[in-house]
Symmetry: C2
Subunit: 356 residues, 2 copies
């Protein structure tokens, strides 16, 4: 009579099911963990039934303790408010969910969360894999991660330079993207073109400027530093610093004696800032000045006029990164890594005019 002690958590366990069915826990485990081990059909049936009836949910702690696997993917991004990261994370999430992985979200901007702490958390949870895309490019995290030789965590990098080469990555070719945009402008007859952006303090920004120069020079247009309009105020001063920078840069551009016919923005938010000031000042877009964005975020369609821009398919990049990771996790393809570089495309809308 005396019911065996069965307090603990109140959750149904395989032991409960075993008792109920009059079979061993092993058999229960075998069917409930989708083991390939042979089990008679009727027993399987019975176990499945009572598992359902008893509302059984496997205790992932126990399972993890045995298998050291969590089916979890950690995402490391600075934040999710920046539209690039929003859709990156969204892309990752969609394929991860489909593949049965759960997403752990770590954002480095949330203070108190040192990279060290994050790594510890990830180790402790025996995370299968992680996708890293923090804006900075010091490679710090990777270094920490690898300094601990115990960690078998699979890593896929997105727009994040790697100090070593033992992981896959998805990069966007910012240099080519920038070039693509400027070529388009030149094709439209522009020759006095300005680049407007924030301090080129990271690779994803320097590359844009390089791409800009590449094409200007190739077109035989004399390049001067004058063509580079850089806002170097505090990036964190405003709620929407890039937009604010755009408005400031537009003022500076308006004040120039030498007039330009087009300005290529570091990204869409900067472009919106430019447009905002131009719109207010009665500078007509694109009649008086053409604007080129970079990102193709949700609001390019929304702005007035709709923004012509170089597209960074961040959602797709997220999906690719996740697919690569899941694939590596499943096939444990030891030392083969795949490194993708995503090609830019130009999205024509209404902010670039033809000049002659």
């Amino acid at each position: 009579m005396a019911r065996k002690k069965r307090m603990a958590t109140g959750f149904t366990t395989i032991k409960d099911i075993a008792r109920e069915c009059g079979v061993s826990v092993t058999s229960v485990s075998r069917v409930l963990s989708n083991s390939s081990y042979p089990v008679s059909a009727q027993m399987r049936e019975k176990i499945l039934k009572t598992a359902q009836r008893l509302n059984y949910t496997p205790n992932l702690f126990a399972r993890g303790l045995k298998t050291n696997e969590s089916s979890e993917i950690a995402i490391l991004v600075p934040n999710i408010v920046n539209p690039f990261y929003t859709s990156l994370v969204s892309g990752i999430e969609s394929v991860a969910a489909k593949e049965g992985y759960t997403i752990l979200l770590y954002s480095t901007d949330s203070n108190n969360m040192s990279e060290r702490k994050i790594i510890n958390s990830i180790h402790g949870k025996r995370i299968s894999g992680m996708i890293i895309s923090t804006g900075s490019d010091n490679g710090e995290i990777i270094r920490i991660l690898q300094s601990n030789s115990q960690s078998p965590t699979r890593i896929v990098l997105v727009d994040y330079p790697s100090p070593s080469s033992n992981h896959s990555s998805v990069f966007f070719d910012y240099r080519k993207g920038s070039a693509l945009g400027v070529e388009y402008l030149i094709r439209k007859g522009h020759r006095d073109i300005i680049y407007a952006g924030l301090k080129p303090d990271r690779r994803t920004r320097t590359e844009r400027i390089e791409g800009f120069k590449d094409v200007i020079e190739k077109a035989g247009i004399p390049f001067s530093e004058e063509a580079l309009c850089i806002y170097d105020g505090n990036e964190n001063a405003k709620e929407n610093p890039e937009f604010f920078a755009g408005t400031e840069l537009a003022k500076r551009i308006c004040a120039k004696s030498k007039k330009s016919t087009a300005v290529v923005a570091m990204n869409d938010m900067v472009a919106f800032g430019l447009m905002n000031h131009f719109n207010r000042s009665g500078v007509k877009i694109p009649q008086d000045v053409s604007i080129l964005g970079f990102d193709d975020n949700l609001f390019c369609e929304v702005s007035y006029p709709p923004l012509t821009t170089v597209r960074i398919p961040s959602g797709q990049m997220g999906e690719l990164a996740a697919k690569i990771l899941v694939d590596e996790l499943r096939n444990d393809s030891a030392d083969s890594y795949i490194n993708l570089t995503i090609e830019p495309t130009l999205i024509e809308r209404n902010t670039v005019a033809e000049v002659n």
Copy 2:
């Protein structure tokens, strides 16, 4: 000599540390798990040192198996692309991180992830608590969650109606928000006001219309169904359905014989759609027509003209929800729940003109 078998995972365990220090695993556990149990200072010191040296990270599976706690918070949202959810999640994440909780992100839009599946995952992981905010308001998830009496998961609801009352919630008062906006319009002299939005198929939308009617009638303006411009096309047809709906509704409004001086949009995206069409058609905002948004998303500053709108502080709502949850988790405050209703505020920008 024969090293005891110590393969398993390769991670350092408390056993390793115990051996290294020549003490019992018990003592190691006590100091490394921050137990309040008394341990001599020197021993503590020694253990801490070698733990650090050996790069020890507690195995959270093992710990969880004992304690049945994960320090994880699950977030359930339809997606993170909608700006409301972006900042909701962001707000939650920031306080969760600060409090030492990890975020698990579940998005219901990602197909293949039935609510049933999500619940199972959450049970299996012994998630401490969850925050739910799925657009629909059928209460399905709660029902499933509670049908399984085993689940002790703490839940906080955000803009999600509850079929029962045993959990805390954070709501926004859409009705009052809408009223606030319309009152402002009337104060500015508007009397021919139109509401433009999608099908009122959920509470958060019907409330807006009710608030609209409330004020119109209170102002002694005869209300007719004509004033309600509802787009009932397929919401998922376009990439940005709300924006698209806005453009369509603007066309319809332009075609009306009776001219209105103001239109209140269901939300900012719809407002942007309206503005897009008006801008293209040479209808001047706000001289020819005033526009009122709802949300106060990132792009209200960016649009041209900047959008006057009723603010939903979704980031703050996320923070509040997380604070409530963490508090309940820590203090296990049994059956006391707190239900907040967030008050609207009006953000004046440049899309509403004074008429007379």
